[in-house]
């Protein structure tokens, strides 16, 4: 009897080992462990055995049964894994093929910087305005302390447009976003922070560094007792956001009729960190924007009482910021907008 059991066990193990698929294993399970199998017969016939033999045979039979069950389980797991593997390998495709129904889109680099700046200013609690393309003498000049016959008018090479707006003088394209200062001042009750973004125009020939159409932001902050230190901090924060690093800035005295005192603002050269290089022409600084404390005449023109409020304003060109940020050296790329340029952004 024992030898018969041993034979069953060795036969079963041998055949399980040779099984190539889970169906065969299932057959083997029926053959060796099923109701009609030899092993089941033996277990069923235990009661007929001599009592002395019974426990020994019984114990051994169960051992054989467990052994076979374990072997079937292991082989099944092994074969399942193999089947899964071969199934996975059977439908491989090329995942590097181009995406379906997708064409990459591209935003103009200046738009990218505009969006970034708008996000920044919104988070800083600024109101956001957009300037018009057709403006007038009053908004661009008279309202910002540049009356008719003011000698500084020559500073702006203005594109004039035939015609006139009643009460506002000759039509023109805005040479600067300061055209919106009067409106911002009139529309809001201090304290407030506002920025305006828009296209500006200067009558000049276009070359690698000059463009008659360009973009500016006008920042206007009005409150009691604002001073040059506040302006410095606001500019430093904005520049840090744009260039991504806390680079020192400096204020140089400069003249703009709508601010007093007025500044040109330089930022430490991003390339050489101030040591001097070809980008900054050895100066270590790069001129980035104009700024200053709002002239009281601008407040008065907008209906405020002189000296009741203070404020500062600043106006970086954001197409230039984009050029600095992305390393564009020829400004003419912006409006040529050729495929080779746009598709890099």
């Amino acid at each position: 009897m024992l030898s018969k059991l041993k034979k069953i066990q060795s036969d079963a193990i041998e055949r399980i080992k040779q099984a190539r698929d889970t169906d065969t294993i299932e057959e083997l399970r029926v053959n060796f462990l099923g109701r009609k199998s030899d092993l089941t017969e033996i277990l069923r016939g235990l009661s007929k055995l001599a009592p002395a033999e019974r426990p020994k045979i019984g114990q051994f039979s169960n051992q054989v049964k467990n052994f076979i069950e374990q072997a079937i389980l292991e082989r099944t797991q092994y074969l399942r894994q193999k089947e899964t593997d071969s199934m996975l390998e059977s439908d491989i495709f090329d995942v590097s093929l181009p995406a379906l129904n997708y064409r990459p889109g591209h935003l103009h680099p200046t738009t990218r910087v505009k969006f970034a700046l708008e996000d920044y200013f919104e988070r800083m609690g600024y109101m956001i305005y957009e300037t018009d393309n057709l403006t007038n003498d009053y908004d661009n000049f008279v309202a910002v302390n540049i009356p008719l016959d003011h000698p500084a008018r020559g500073m702006w090479d203005t594109f004039w447009v035939k015609g006139e707006l009643k009460g506002k003088g000759k039509l023109c394209l805005p040479p600067h976003t300061s055209c919106i200062q009067n409106r911002i001042l009139r529309e809001n009750k201090p304290p407030y922070k506002a920025v305006a973004l828009g296209r500006c125009f200067r009558y000049e020939a276009t070359d690698a560094t000059h463009e008659h159409t360009f973009y500016q932001i006008e920042g206007v902050v009005v409150d009691k007792k604002l001073n040059v230190g506040h302006l410095k901090k606001a500019l430093f924060d904005m520049v840090q956001f744009v260039v991504g690093r806390p680079l020192p800035i400096r204020l140089r005295p400069h003249y703009f009729p709508f601010v007093e005192p007025g500044f040109e603002v330089d930022v430490t050269c991003m390339k050489c960190e101030g040591k001097g290089c070809n980008i900054c022409k050895g100066a270590g600084w790069i001129e980035m924007l104009g700024a200053g404390m709002i002239h009281q005449n601008v407040f008065v023109e907008a209906g405020y009482k002189r000296h009741e409020w203070t404020g500062f304003a600043y106006g970086p060109g954001y197409d230039r910021l984009a050029m600095t940020r992305y390393g564009i050296t020829d400004i003419r790329h912006n409006f040529a907008s050729r495929r080779e340029f746009i598709e890099q952004f």
């Binding site: 064409r103 990459p104 889109g105 591209h106 935003l107 200046t110 738009t111 969006f115 708008e118 609690g125 109101m127 956001i128 018009d132 393309n133 057709l134 016959d149 000698p151 500084a152 020559g154 500073m155 594109f159 004039w160 447009v161 035939k162 394209l173 296209r199 125009f201 000049e204 276009t206 008659h212 409150d223 007792k225 604002l226 001073n227 040059v228 230190g229 410095k232 901090k233 606001a234 400096r250 204020l251 140089r252 005295p253 400069h254 003249y255 009729p257 007093e260 005192p261 500044f263 040109e264 404390m293 009281q296 203070t310 912006n334 409006f335 907008s337 050729r338 495929r339 746009i342 598709e343």
Partner: protein, 803 residues
Amino acid sequence: MQIPYSWLKDYLNETDLEKGQWTASKIGQRLTASFNEFEGVEKLAFEFPKIVVGQIKKIEHHPYADRLSIVLVDIGVKKSTIVCGASNLYVGMFVPVALPGAKLGTDGEFEIKVTEIRGVRSEGMICSAEELSLEDKSLGILDLGKGLKAGVKLDDAISFDDEIMALTITSNRADANNVIGVAKEISVGCNVRFNIPKFNIRENSPDKIDNLIKIQIKDASACRRYTSRIIQDVKIGESPLWLKRRLIMSGLRPVNNVVDITNYVLLEYGQPMHAFDYDLVIGHKIVVRRAKKGERIITLDDQKVVLDDEDLIIADEKRPLAIAGIIGGRESSIMPNTKTIVLESANFARDLINRTTKKHGIMTDSSIMFGKGIPMSKTQQALERATFLIQEICGGQVVRGVVDVRSKRILQKEISFDVQNLFDLIGIEIPKNSIKSILTKLDFVITSMVEDKITVKIPDYRIDIEYEEDIFEEIARIYGYDQVPDQIFSMPVTPARPELHRRYKNKIIRFYFDRGWSEVYSYNFTSAEDTASFGFDPAESFELENPVDQTQHLLRQSLLPGLVHKLKTWTTSGDITSIFEWGRVLNKKTKPTEHDSFATGFIDKNLDSKNSFLTVKSSFEGMLALGGLKISDFTASRVIDSLVDIDYLHPYNSLVITKGKKIIGTIGVMHPTLAEQYKLPPQTILSEFNLHQLIPHFNELFTFIEPSKFPSSLFDASFVVDYRTMALDLINCAHQVGGKNLKRIDIFDEYCGANLGENKKSISLRFEFQSHDRTLSDGEVEEKMHKIFDALKKEHAAILRDK
């Protein structure tokens, strides 16, 4: 402006400069922080290869030519013989000598060679300033002055070790746009004492000026001060080298000694001057008056100017001598034979000069200076300086006395301020003794200082100082903005402006970008041809007065012409071009005249026009979904069926989207004729939307309706219609009679085939009925469908197809 550093040093204390170890570039950097932008230090740009300093040793007459001399010149390494035709040579004179091989002329086209001139060997050329291209016209050989060494290179002799300082002076500081003004700023900014060179005029003529000339100002508001001196027996000729050198380094070209001196004083003081030939002033009378209408003058540069009665002129008894403050007349100008000169230094009204300059288009250094405003105190200072220099350089006798006619003295302005206001504006407490010392050095006179209250007299030349803030800037810029600490400000948070327009515009831009469109920028400027080609009336375009390009003189009414030009450049590479632009467009007739526009251009070389159109339409519909909208929220019709003229699109294969009477936008196949004109393929798709019309309809306040618990019934039907019929029209028609339980209609097939008959097509629609309160019976649905069939037949001649 460009200033030779040596000239500035004339006005600065040498010991202090040495003590502070100041150099031109170090001074420049300080000026950038305290005054105006310093651009850098330059050396003189002229170079003179193979031209050396020679000293004349002997002059002999040429044996065969009366006008020529044979000159023996020491050129260091040897003595050369040179034949020369000039008459101003003398033994011992230092002159420029061009050696054989030197190239003269503006482009070096004239090479010096050893030659024989009338039988005498000549080993080079003795040069005038004209021949060296240093000035336009020379009267003789350039006299290099004294104390030179024969044989040294001319470059070194002319520039010495001088440097040119380049500065940009802002327009408000016209008073400092000159040597003295900059020297003054250096003195304050660098803490170097200001040094005023002394000069004395010898009034060595027996005549008194009042006996020689009468000067009358007829318009005191236009000419606030007129000063004059007369110098007799002057010799018009070459200026000395030092003077020429300073002019050249400052960017001016020497003319003759008198003109050079007035230019020199202009650069030094910032006061324009003029010199007349006394003998040509008819009646020896100078009248400053407005011109008579139609009066004429020929200017120094030979322009004939017809004056009007606003223009201010300097006249004698009979005729205009000069346009005041702008340019002199040819007839009374200084000529080589002029003996007696009348010097003019005057102050003319800024606005008037600007208007006359603009009117006649005559821009001179003088008109620019007067146009920015010149302080009255300079009038006589400059006159005295010029008189001194003329006497020194041109010789002659100075007539006794000065004519000084002035309308009124302008009171020196006083401004009082509280130092607390200064601290508040600048953001730092500046010590009072610093305030005092800065103001004093800048020529402000402190008239009182009681506690925090300071009163100052403004120097008369600082016409830019009007308000206390202007004084605060003066103090702060010298004290140093780098001293001001950063300060954080906080403000109460106010509700954000609604600003829906900008937000949705940005979303639309991002949406198109996500859908594979690329953004381009183009100019606002366009041509009348492009405007008209797209069917816009150029008469409705705003027009530039001063276009950079005469053909691009109109402001765009639409983004499409610009976009089409971009499409052309893009389609040269790649099969697919899908570009968009957003921006402002303008039209004189619309209200408002300006609006935001969004336009797209699409070309796929592998698609037909129908599928190209539908591709673009998918982006459009997706964009509408951003604002919770569908095309069916608007009226959509083909261009040909709409009430508006859209010339740039195919009349049938296009949609005009309107709401009420407002046009929201268009989308369609580019008109084939226009596509051909612009050499674009026939499947080019254009679209443009008025964002100011579209975005107000955006509304994300959806209203939820609980889905019906009852089943819906579907009903499919195909119709044969004319091939021009739009499925959308059938749907709209069906909805009108379908009742409230007709939930939706989908188009599931469109088909053209010969079996349908000529010019016919089939449209298959799926109708979905559903009620909110019960299950609809087949009978109910069929009844509605019959109504729909009847309506479609009546309105669109739609024949139901058998299945």
